[in-house]
Symmetry: C2
Subunit: 410 residues, 2 copies
């Protein structure tokens, strides 16, 4: 497995286009991803009770597991828009389907931007027409750009797996994401679209994506807020024509004993973790990526709870933003995570520097700690010393800029 | 019941003193509260797994329900200090007990300030000597000041209840609190001390404080972080010599059919809610008090979860700080609160202005909303329209100043 240069259109049989249709000022705001043949697909969506109209629609559509196109707009989230919002989302897929001459049931839709406003459908219709006419295997970069809001960088990763394709080359995977930037301060949406030419069964694809998302997008937090539009969607069109990756049930448990499934999972994990870290690092106003590793846990739940509590603590985040060596805040945050850990056995490391030993200050060089805190990637390890469960979580620092961005008037 | 001028020493038989002993620079940092006779007492403490040494000690001591003095220092939290920390906390109570000629088991201790540092015991010993010599019924203001860290104001409320004292006058209640200010950026502690001259049984006192704390201190949040030192302690010395307020068990349920218990609860609720709101309003960097009322809930848990999720959302807090009418953020935050509410039935009001009707934008005057958002107290009402449970929660806005305070180098 290796990361390679490329775009969302690098896997075989995918085309894409990104255009400006006038929802945002002077920036690309409409994207189309298209597979030459219907792709096996799976999606994971926000667990927020308030789901945007495109999320509601895509959840229904993806049940059939066969998707050929995804249309995405940025600028307006089409959330809290009721019946009209759902009709608009459906209309978007209808226009795409007509132009591409496919069934609308094979088209997904995603939106990101301001909550509570309606989409300008005539602009979108014009945009879709243009996007269809511009579809190409070189359109990936523009799509990566068109899905952004106030993200400061595009987030794109392409991986060549170790799975041989029929003929020559390997199975490929490509993904793009957007993070918690905002076109206007109503939203922090995470969107991720993944294309692959792997030949795989729907069950195996679902299992692989669930595993990868639990290790990546479910392990990041910019501010603990969950959006109405979060979506991760994967399309696998099978055009690499590799030996089909399968799973089967054995005694009610999903069994996978396929070397290629492992290869695929490894590549998908890498891709999702890379994108997730890019999203965390590019959190609103953030200047640093914070990696929190919690190990020595007695249960999976406790390591996850502690990692999340520390990553979400505004006091910890602000301290790291200010390169302030406040290890007490980490202790306080981990103690508040509703677990049964014995805090007098806890060790805390910044990078490899032991700062807390058995719940109390260890003797360490303060200058060394300051140097670590000034890096643009700060790694914290918390060892609970009571078991063997481990997790890694990524967050970012809290800065004045985060507040400034989010208090702006609409 | 009415609020009156006064201090923590206004109830009969209480004396207090606040002095400077050198933990902080040029500010009062040591306080002593003393009752002429042992007082029935009850305390509620942080549920953080990391408990400061004074909290551990006070939890043990208060089990006997008979307390005569509380010693408090600000500047250093005596948290994450291991065995030595516990010895230091015990030593503080020993010095107080010796000087006051009482048993050390009747002395509680509380600390607030930086985590992970040891107390300067010789300074504290000198401070306690001075405080004992200065104990007076006029010392309350100085105590209210000595427990502060970076709080910008003292927080003090005195209430005259409707319960007649023997002889003349009424039963009195007084309370002081400190909020999430910091002497140095390692801590956000909530401390509250309440004195009363009511004559009451331990069970009735416990019941009354639990009820009051659930309506007040458990309903506020500055940043969602839970401290290692949070404590609410009440001392009731009985010197008003009112007819003793009692409770009794009936079929395993606590029964209270005493009019004076209701009077006492009413006064204690008022006092705790007033102090809690002062703490929220004086949150670090805060410029506004935000009141969130959630009504129409099917269960008590769901209204509390939603109120807390909205009050803790950095996006909602920043928007209100910037007087930005982003109702979408409230919808997103309430949707993420892990409840089963039907978001398409939700109404949201800012003050009395209906902004969201049935989960979508209502038609309202934008100018009116902007005017409401500019006030220094913003009231939000969320109606779930599915039951009759209701709750009120208080928080504050998120400002650049919060980040600035918390990224400061130690």
């Amino acid at each position: 497995m290796k990361e390679i240069e490329g775009e969302i259109t690098t896997p075989r049989g995918f085309k894409a286009a990104g255009v400006h249709c006038g929802i945002k000022k002077n920036r690309l705001d409409l994207a189309l991803i298209y597979s030459e043949i219907p792709a096996i697909s799976f999606g994971m969506f926000t667990t927020n009770r308030v789901k945007a109209a495109p999320v509601e629609l895509s959840i229904q559509r993806i049940r059939k597991r066969s998707i050929q196109a995804i249309v995405i707009n940025s600028g307006i989230a089409n959330a809290c828009t009721g019946k009209k919002g759902l009709e608009d989302a459906d209309k978007m897929t209808e226009i795409v389907a007509e132009r591409l001459n496919i069934e609308k049931e094979k088209v997904l839709v995603a939106s990101t931007g301001k909550i509570g406003e309606f989409l300008p459908l005539s602009n979108i219709e014009e945009g879709i027409k243009q996007a269809v006419s511009e579809l190409s295997s070189k359109g990936g970069e523009k799509v990566a750009e068109a899905i952004l809001t106030t993200d400061t960088t595009i987030k794109q990763v392409v991986v060549e797996t170790d799975i041989p394709a029929r003929g020559k080359g390997k199975v490929m995977l490509a993904g793009i994401a957007k993070g918690s930037g905002m076109i206007s301060p109503n939203l922090a949406t995470m969107l991720c679209f993944i294309t692959t030419d792997v030949c795989i069964t729907p069950d195996a694809l679902e299992e692989a994506l669930k595993r990868a998302v639990n290790k990546s997008f479910n392990q990041i937090s910019v501010d603990g807020d969950m959006s109405t539009n979060d979506s991760v969607i994967i399309l696998a069109n099978g055009l690499a024509r590799n030996k089909k990756i399968k799973t089967w049930q054995k005694k009610k448990k999903l069994k996978i004993e396929d070397e290629n499934f492992s290869h695929f999972c490894k590549a998908l994990d890498y891709l999702c973790i890379s994108l997730a870290k890019m999203v965390a690092r590019d959190g609103e106003g953030a200047t640093k990526l914070i990696e929190i590793r919690v190990k020595g846990g007695a249960f999976p739940k406790e390591v996850r709870r502690i990692a999340r509590a520390v990553a979400n603590s505004p006091l910890v985040k602000a301290a790291i933003g200010g390169a302030s060596p406040n290890w007490g805040r980490i202790m306080s945050a981990l103690g508040s995570a509703h677990t049964c850990v014995d805090t007098q056995r806890v060790d805390v490391y910044f990078d490899k520097l032991l700062v807390v030993r058995g719940g109390e200050a260890a003797s360490f060089e303060k200058e060394k700690l300051k140097e670590i805190l000034k890096r643009d990637e700060v790694k914290i390890t918390i060892d609970l010393h009571r078991g063997s469960w481990e997790t890694v979580f990524w967050g970012c620092d809290l800065t004045e800029k985060y507040v400034k961005i989010n208090k702006r008037y609409v």
